[in-house]
Symmetry: C2
Subunit: 148 residues, 2 copies
């Protein structure tokens, strides 16, 4: 059976969020939170606009999802994000007990995986590499553009 809503579908929605960040001169990272095949929250990096180092795509999407649900725990939710979360975001997602995290491109320098999966909640499932080329290209073109 054809599955309309798969990980690639939702990662494309996260990429659309990242493009909003890029258009605003922000480091292009985007995220969506999905529950029962529905997007319940979106976020893109706004650290410059909000003058706030914590305004990462994941944090914005996580808090928006909690508002939507009226529950600070994101059980039965998947967070899609274009880039490997940083330790701050991994820690926030752990507190939020997100059921599943799917990220696109690796972030070897700033990503949480350097510290290990123990930063996440033990029940959180993790997947990565979905549309990693498109997700990585967002970052490459942003930083190439800045140096140009």
């Amino acid at each position: 059976m054809l599955k309309l809503y798969d990980d690639e579908f939702f990662m494309r929605q996260a990429i659309a969020q990242a493009n909003l960040a890029a258009a605003d001169g922000e480091i292009p990272v985007g995220a969506v939170v999905v529950s029962n095949d529905r997007i319940i929250a979106r976020g893109h990096n706004q650290t410059e606009r909000l003058n706030d180092v914590t305004a990462h795509a994941e944090i914005i999407a996580l808090t928006a999802a909690a508002n939507y649900l009226g529950d600070k725990y994101l059980h039965d939710c998947t967070l899609y994000v274009t880039l490997e979360p940083c330790p701050m975001c991994a820690g926030a997602l752990a507190w939020g007990q997100v059921s599943r995290i799917v990220y696109g491109a690796n972030d070897d320098k700033r990503g949480f995986m350097r510290f290990g999966r123990e930063l996440l909640h033990p029940k959180t499932k993790l997947e990565f590499g979905v549309l990693h080329e498109e997700c990585g290209a967002l970052m490459t073109s942003f930083f190439t553009g800045r140096r140009g």
Copy 2:
């Protein structure tokens, strides 16, 4: 010479913040941000009230300080917090490049030190154990009260 404003003085202000959290039924953690011997921001844990897992004392104080300074980096600032920060907060403080962190009580289970100081910015100075008995007693009496 008598030093009016020392680490204990400011930690007592963080404890006052923690008491505000306790009075509100929140896990009693408080924080202040100090620049040039002046408190520029305060925060206490509000995860229940705000229904937001990211509303830790440190995050609230960090973003309030950035608002006050008009600068998302907290150079020349010390953050005092009653409890060892969690990895989320350590990661946020790293992004904020806080000059110095002073915490009171250890948090062996949830604290960032399990993952090591690499979670902090390399330039951030770290001190701990200031008024650790008072800071730890806040937590003990809160959780004892909840079990009672």
